[in-house]
Each structure stands twice: as structure tokens, then as C-alpha cells.
């Protein structure tokens, strides 16, 4: 792994971005066995590179995520609907009722409960990309699983194949924001939404490209969601910076249905929101998140989302 590449990051990056790059040099070699070596993904990444001709053959980043469930209280302690879901809804104009990120309530032993945000696992051995008959769903070189909505034929084979139930289908014509027809559709930012095609969390490929955290991570007031670059082994939730392999290794992080061999790129650190005072016997359910229409999300003249302040705010800094 050539950590010098880390210096050639986007100039648009925020200050956090530069920190990421700097730490990368020190941390790059540190990727342990707990983290899949990014190089193992490269063959498949280059295979799909023709769909993304502007991308370099050797990707600079290999994005992964970690969700610290010790910090996830389902936004119950602040008596709000899950902010991550609302942030995602507003960012992508997610068709109402088919959230890309969901807060699942998990039944733990002893009758206790915890919350688990479910996003796309960006599996390295992704069942969905294998079964697509037209190659409409694929890995981008940096590890996100994307969907080309100009290609998708709506057979829903990928929905049958996904072992996590992540994928959503536009059964009818989904509502689009005003001016969406002028928006610049890309598989990374699939607005406008199209009838008869499959959608899902794209792990915010359009934002990570620009060195920004995914919309859910930005919106999370608890800073529970981390974005990490496996190449440099650096991760951040927007508040602290961690050496990613150590972070997941020392916190007993697990991946969903690891035994299936899908090699997800999303790790979960077990917990029940205790960092914010939620107790295991709490029976408070997560509130229903508002959809983008209720949040009043709109597009600006460049076809990019205008984020309503209520959905992007972090709580305490």
C-alpha cells in the first residue's frame, strides 16, 4: 500500500480531510488482519472501472464505516426522530417510506433492547452485484456499491440476493423535488429517482468523493457513525480521529452475518446507547423519522440538496 498517495487528496477537503491524509502516512502500514487488505478488492474495482472512466485505476481510498452502538440511542434520549435517517432523507430525497438507512430495534438477551442503524454494508463479496443480469449494480473503485439507474431493468434479483434487506424498489413513480429534472444524475447521487428501478444507501459516494462524511454521519448528533479509509487506516466521526483497525479491534466490533462471507465494510461496536445515558431496559421506541417532503428539503440551482438546518445539526461539540 502506497501511503504517499494519501497526499494527493482533493483540494476541496475540509480541515478534517487534511488531518485524515496526514495521519494516513503514519497509520497506513498498520492495517492488521482484522481489516481486509484493500488490495484484495482491486481486481474487482478495476473490472468495473470502465463504468467510471474518470476514476483512477488505483483508488486512493477504500471507504469503510463503523457504527458505535454505545453512542446510538435511537435519538430517544433527546426525544427526536433518528437524525441520521432524516439527514439521509433530506440529502437524497429518499422516496417516502423506503428509507435507505433504518433504525432497527434489536431484541437483546434478557428482554433488553438496543438500536441498530442499518445501511448498505458495501460488501466486498457482494451478492447483489453478482446476480445483476445487466451489471447495473457494481462496486465503485473506492468500495461503494452503486446502482446505475439508466441500466437497471427492475428484475429485483439483487433484492432477493441481498442478505440484509437493504435494497428498495420504486414500485411507482417516486416524488422528486422541484428542479430535480435539471439535477445532474449520477449513480453516486441518483436524483431524480426513477420508476421501476432499485435504490439503496450508496454509502454517500458523492460525498466521500469530496472528502465529506456521509449524510447520516454528519446528521448524527451523537457522533456514532464513523467513516474510515482502509488504505490509510484512519477513521473519523467528525469529532475524533481513530486508527481504524485498532478502533474496531479493541472494541469487539462485528459485522452483520459475517459467516456468510460477504465481507461487509460496515462494522458495529456493540452497545445500547449507554454513552448518552440510555439504559438497556429502556422501552422508549425510536420515533418515526420525517421524509424529505416533511423536512422541506429542496435543491439549489446547481441541483445539489439544500440541507434544512434542523437535520444537519450536531448536538454538543
Amino acid at each position: 500500500m502506497d501511503s504517499a498517495r494519501e497526499k494527493t487528496t482533493h483540494p476541496s477537503g475540509v480541515s478534517r480531510r487534511r488531518v485524515l491524509g496526514g495521519l494516513g502516512i503514519a497509520a497506513a502500514i498498520g492495517a492488521t488482519g482484522a481489516v481486509p487488505v484493500a488490495a484484495s478488492l482491486l481486481p474487482s474495482a478495476t473490472k468495473t472501472a470502465n463504468a467510471q472512466e474518470s476514476e483512477p485505476a488505483q483508488p486512493t481510498h477504500q471507504w469503510a464505516m463503523a457504527i458505535d452502538l454505545r453512542k446510538c440511542d435511537g435519538c430517544t434520549t433527546i426525544d427526536q426522530a433518528p437524525k441520521c435517517v432524516e439527514g439521509c432523507n433530506a440529502e437524497h430525497f429518499v422516496p417516502p417510506g423506503q428509507e435507505w438507512i433504518e433504525i432497527l430495534q434489536v431484541d437483546d438477551p434478557g428482554g433488553y433492547t438496543s438500536f441498530m442503524p442499518r445501511i448498505c454494508n458495501a460488501c466486498e463479496n457482494a451478492p447483489c452485484t453478482k446476480v445483476c443480469p445487466v451489471g447495473a449494480t457494481y462496486h465503485d473503485p473506492e468500495g461503494s456499491v452503486l446502482i446505475n439507474h439508466d441500466k437497471c431493468i427492475g428484475c429485483r434479483m439483487c433484492m432477493a440476493a441481498c442478505p440484509y434487506g437493504v435494497r428498495r424498489f420504486n414500485w411507482g413513480q417516486p416524488p422528486n423535488p422541484e428542479g430535480a429534472s435539471l439535477a445532474n444524475y449520477t449513480p453516486e447521487y441518483p436524483v431524480p429517482h426513477r420508476k421501476g428501478t432499485v435504490e439503496k444507501c450508496m454509502t454517500c459516494a458523492h460525498r466521500t468523493k469530496e472528502g465529506k462524511l456521509p449524510a447520516c454521519a454528519t446528521a448524527c448528533p451523537m457522533f456514532a457513525i464513523y467513516l474510515a479509509d482502509l488504505n490509510s487506516d484512519v477513521g473519523t466521526n467528525g469529532k475524533e480521529i481513530v486508527k481504524f483497525s485498532r478502533f474496531i479491534g479493541t472494541n469487539a466490533a462485528y459485522r452483520l452475518k459475517e459467516e456468510l462471507g460477504t465481507r461487509p465494510r460496515v462494522w458495529y461496536i456493540p452497545g445500547h446507547g449507554q454513552d448518552y445515558g440510555r439504559t438497556v431496559d429502556s422501552t422508549v421506541a425510536a420515533k418515526t423519522p420525517r421524509n424529505w417532503q416533511e423536512l422541506g428539503a429542496t435543491l439549489d440551482s446547481n441541483g445539489m440538496p439544500v440541507r434544512p438546518s434542523s437535520s444537519t445539526q450536531g448536538a454538543s461539540n
Partner: protein, 440 residues
């Protein structure tokens, strides 16, 4: 030959009903095209429903016809002769409907050409897209081969009595058939080659159909026996439809002399064999799942046998697997009407079984979700009814133009019998006839 040339009022009424049903399905599909699959009962949890189970069902109906005709031809079973034509026809009709179903299920039918432009061999769906047209084409060729002599006969015998279109049709399909020994030899050889080819293609077809399920991680689908399980199920359901169709044709065209009780019994024996094999697979499949009760498998088993799907599962299992097999196996119930009743039960049960394969595995939660719910909408029901009407329509139209029992096969059989009788009585069979008949 009378049904070919005379059109009764009952036939017109029957065609009228079929056309109305097909029209209703077409209108239903038009609304689906306009408003999208939102008009169905499908949702993000249960993403496949009756369209896909119809697809599996019709591919099952289609599997047996040509397959059985091929096996019986290769093994030289003489009793096949009056069955081959409508068996092969049922395959062509069922596979045509089967091929349409996934297209109806597509969210973007306007992009069907993407399958050719961007097709990926890695996708199990692409395997289906390759194998079903292959089996359909092979079945059409196989059906067509033995239409050549029959059309030649019709051309010569009906020449003056029929319309210009029919004359042209028979002349074209008859391909200058004059029953010359060389022609006969070649068509027999072609028939044997096709029969041998069709058996692996038939097996491949239903195996591949099973793999759109078997290649996933879902409980109930994630099974290594799915390919043979589906293939045996298809043979079971396909043999049953042959019995049903045989009865219909026998009644409608008064073919009691050709399609005798013996034919029903022999086909019923085949049905019992496949039925028992299918029971065996069903047992093996569910025993291994329910012995271990792996978390998600266990949840599915509970819902299937004791939960929300119990009615459908037990109805399909007892009504579609146990009862018909017993009826067709016991000597004192082996009467034509009872066997036909059993064959209808089989296909009702097998249709349910396919729905039970598709829907519960889709409803089962993959993460801590609720169980998904699915109830087919009016549009889906209309399209399903239309697909059955389409199956009947293809068969009816075909039977209007071509004999439903192969004239040539029958004649050949009679000649063969005569030849045997001669050789028994010391006379020699005509030299040209004997070897070619043996090969048949």
C-alpha cells in the same frame, strides 16, 4: 380430421371466453405499465410474488411434455404414439407463457434489450434467459419435425376441401413429404437426435429456474437440492397436466379409441413415480432444516407448518402430493375419472407449492424486521388468469390447424404391429420398414 375442418359453436364460445380473459389480462397489464408495479401487492420485503411463481409453474408444466415424449421415444415405448403430439404441444404452449412471465414482472420492460446489450453470464437470471428460449426452440423443432409427415398427409388428403391459407400452411410445413423411405429414415434420425438433446436441455431448464432462488442466502432457498428438487417437481406437475389434457382432448375430439384407459394408467404410473420422488425430496429438504432449526430456518419452518402459511402448505402437501399419489397408485382408484381428478389436484397443489416457495422465503425477515406481508392484487390475479387462458388459447388454435394425435406416428405403429404379426407367422417384414422402425 373432422375437427380440423369443421368449426362448432362450442369452439367459438370457448375461444370467445379465452379471448375475453386474455384481453382482461392485457388491460390489467396496461395499467401496470402506466402506474408501475405499484399496482401489485408486492413491496420492498416481498419483491417477488405470483408472477415469479407462475413463471416457475409454467416452466414446470412445460418441462414434462417434450421431455416425456423424448424419453418414451428413446426407450421405444410404443404406447407413446397417441400422446407425443399434444405432449410436445403443451410444452411449447407452457414455455411461451413461462417466457412472458418474467417480462411482466420487470420494473422496466422498456429496457428488456439491456439483457442483450449489457448481459452478464454471472447472473442466474441470465442463465434463465438463455435456457428457456433454448428449450422452447428445441421443443418447437421437435414438434415441427413430426408435423412434417402429418402436414404432407393433410396436404394430400384435404387438398380440395380447405381454404387457400390452410393449403399453403400444409404445403409449407409438409415440406414435400412423400413418405419416401429416405425421408422417413432422415426424420427418424432427426427425431432421435432431438429427443436425446431435449432431455438434458429440459433438466437444465428447471435446474436453472431453481437457481434464481438457490443462489441466494435466503432461508428456504439456500439449498443444494433445489435443482433436482425443482426438476422432479416439474416432471410431476408436467405429467399431471398431460393426464388432464389427454382427458380434455379425448372428450372434445372423441378419441376414446386412441387414448384408452391403458394410456391413463401408464401416465398415472409415471406420475406416481415422480410424485413419490418429489415427496422424498420434500422430506429430505424439510427434515434437514427442521432437525437443526437454525435461527432463520427455524422461524421459516414454524411459519410454514404452524404459522401464517400453514393452510397453504398443508393444502399443497396433502392435497397436491399425498392424495393424488395415493389415488394414482391404488389399484381400485385407477379409473380414468379419478386419475384425471388426481392430476388436477396435483397442479393445484403444485401451483400453491410454487407460491409457498417464493413468498414465505421473501417475507422472512433478514434482520430484526417484521415479517413481510403479501396479497396479490386484482391486476396480478387478472394477469395470472390470462396466462392460463393464453396456455389454453395456444393449444386450442394449434388443434384447429393440426391433428392432436400424430397421424404418422399412429400409422407407423400400425405398420409395425402388422410387420410383427407377419414375422411371427413366418413372413418377412418389408426390408425397408424394419430397421427404421426398430430405431424408432
Amino acid at each position: 380430421m373432422a375437427p380440423l375442418t369443421r368449426t362448432s359453436r362450442a369452439w367459438m364460445v370457448w375461444m370467445g371466453i379465452l379471448l375475453i380473459l386474455i384481453m382482461a389480462g392485457t388491460v390489467a397489464y396496461a395499467t401496470q405499465l402506466k402506474d408501475g408495479l405499484a399496482v401489485t401487492g408486492l413491496n420492498d420485503t416481498v419483491t417477488w410474488g405470483v408472477y415469479i411463481s407462475n413463471f416457475v409453474f409454467f416452466s414446470g408444466l412445460g418441462m414434462a411434455g417434450t421431455f416425456i415424449s423424448g424419453i418414451l421415444r428413446l426407450t421405444g415405448a410404443e404406447w407413446r404414439r397417441p400422446l407425443t403430439r399434444f405432449a410436445e404441444l403443451s410444452t411449447v404452449a407452457a414455455l411461451t407463457i413461462c417466457a412472458i412471465m418474467p417480462a411482466i414482472d420487470m420494473g422496466r420492460p422498456d429496457r428488456v434489450l439491456h439483457l442483450i446489450m449489457y448481459g452478464r453470464l454471472e447472473s442466474p437470471l441470465m442463465w434463465d434467459i438463455m435456457v428457456i428460449p433454448t428449450y422452447l426452440t428445441a421443443s418447437i423443432i421437435y414438434l415441427f419435425l413430426f408435423l412434417i409427415p402429418d402436414s404432407g398427409i393433410l396436404r394430400d388428403k384435404l387438398g380440395g376441401q380447405v381454404s387457400g391459407f390452410r393449403r399453403k400452411l400444409y404445403t409449407a410445413v409438409g415440406m414435400r413429404w412423400q413418405a419416401l423411405p429416405e425421408q422417413r429414415r432422415r426424420i427418424e434420425r432427426a427425431g432421435t437426435i432431438m429427443a436425446a438433446l431435449i432431455i438434458p436441455i429440459g433438466i437444465a431448464t428447471h435446474s436453472v429456474v431453481s437457481w434464481i432462488f438457490g443462489m441466494t442466502y435466503r432461508s428456504g432457498w439456500d439449498s443444494t437440492i433445489f435443482a433436482p428438487y425443482f426438476a422432479v417437481g416439474a416432471l410431476y406437475s408436467g405429467t399431471a397436466i398431460l393426464i388432464t389434457l389427454m382427458y380434455v382432448f379425448r372428450r372434445v375430439y372423441r378419441l376414446e379409441d386412441f387414448l384408452t384407459e391403458r394410456h391413463f394408467k401408464l401416465l398415472a404410473t409415471l406420475m406416481v413415480v415422480f410424485g413419490v420422488a418429489y415427496l422424498y425430496f420434500t422430506f429430505a429438504e424439510f427434515l434437514t432444516m427442521s432437525y437443526k432449526m437454525e435461527a432463520s430456518d427455524g422461524a421459516l419452518i414454524n411459519q410454514l407448518f404452524f404459522g401464517r402459511y400453514a393452510a397453504m402448505v398443508w393444502l399443497g402437501f396433502i392435497g397436491g402430493q399425498i392424495v393424488p399419489v395415493v389415488l394414482a397408485a391404488l389399484p381400485w382408484t385407477r379409473k380414468i375419472r379419478i386419475l384425471v381428478f388426481a392430476s388436477v389436484l396435483v397442479n393445484v397443489g403444485m401451483w400453491l407449492k410454487r407460491l409457498v416457495i417464493v413468498v414465505p422465503s421473501m417475507s422472512a425477515p433478514l434482520l430484526p424486521y417484521e415479517w413481510g406481508a403479501y396479497m396479490p392484487s386484482g391486476v396480478e390475479i387478472l394477469i395470472t388468469v390470462a396466462s392460463f387462458a393464453g396456455f389454453a388459447f395456444i393449444m386450442t388454435v394449434f388443434a384447429k390447424f393440426f391433428p392432436i394425435i400424430s397421424i404418422d406416428e399412429m400409422e407407423e405403429g400400425w405398420e409395425l404391429e402388422e410387420a410383427r404379426a407377419h414375422s411371427v407367422s413366418g413372413a418377412h417384414a418389408p426390408a425397408a420398414l424394419k430397421p427404421q422402425v426398430e430405431r424408432a
